[in-house]
Subunit: 164 residues, 2 copies
């Protein structure tokens, strides 16, 4: 992680980090789901896709699956967001239940985990050429996500030093 | 699987099946890979994506991974193709090595497995709106696939009956 700017005030941190072109550390806790009745006896899992990377939760059964799994990744300054997918496990073939584009513009800096918020999954991806711009057409599935920019360690340290 | 047309000659089978609007059974054997040297110590796996479904091979280590896994699926008459992805396994995050669009127009009917053919993976997907049209920009990774339309059982039976 490359840090160019420095600040003595927390309020200016976000602006400086974005302006500096530094990679930002994103923390995403995939907490639980409120799915429709078609998933009563199914196992489901969540996939995070960031640029050319992906990571997957374990699978959990039922309409209110508790995945409770944390993901941390760095995203470059011009990265606009990332993708969340919800999949239903099958014997041979898994089927997609919904997709969600999380725009980084909606994400804020935080130092610790919060309660998160519920996101409704969609069934369609909106693309501009090969670039994803969003998702549309709501499904009846929702997931609870807690997403925030983690403060880079070097920045936290300089904050502490500045107090003395 | 819905069958509308019937034929007594094998040569007319493909045409009749396509014209009938029946779903076609596709068989895809994912045999092995010839990957570049960056994958020497990595584990890789292959993902097949067909409409809203996906299935995955086990992961195999090295530059010449032998997945040797068979996949069978039905694709509706207006389905134009399916996607093959090659992924490198990571501790927390997997990274994509290449992607391939297999157009059904290149697939033929067969009754049994063949030697297959080598396909070079690409790094970019070509889309028209939300519809995938192809892939471009070759990578240095190749995979050996044996892909064919399996003859539907009812059709084989009518062929046998016709002989008596």
């Amino acid at each position: 992680m490359r840090l160019v700017g420095r600040s003595r005030r927390s309020s200016g941190l976000q602006e400086i980090l974005v302006r500096s072109g530094a990679e930002r550390a994103v923390r995403c806790a995939v907490k639980k789901g409120r799915l429709d009745k078609t998933t009563d006896t199914s196992k489901t899992y969540v996939v995070l896709k960031v640029q050319n990377l992906k990571s997957t939760t374990i699978d959990r059964r039922g309409r209110e699956p508790c995945w409770e799994q944390d993901f941390m990744f760095e995203i470059c300054a011009d990265g606009k967001g990332f993708i969340i997918e919800l999949w239903k496990k099958g014997l041979l073939w898994d089927s997609i239940l919904g997709v969600l584009w999380i725009p980084l513009a909606t994400v804020e800096y935080a130092t610790d985990e919060g309660p998160g918020s519920w996101w409704r999954l969609h069934s369609e991806v909106i693309k501009n050429g090969s670039e994803i711009q969003g998702t549309k057409t709501p499904t009846s599935h929702e997931i609870l996500l807690d997403i925030y920019f983690a403060l880079p360690f070097a920045m936290i340290l300089s904050e502490i030093v500045a107090k003395f």
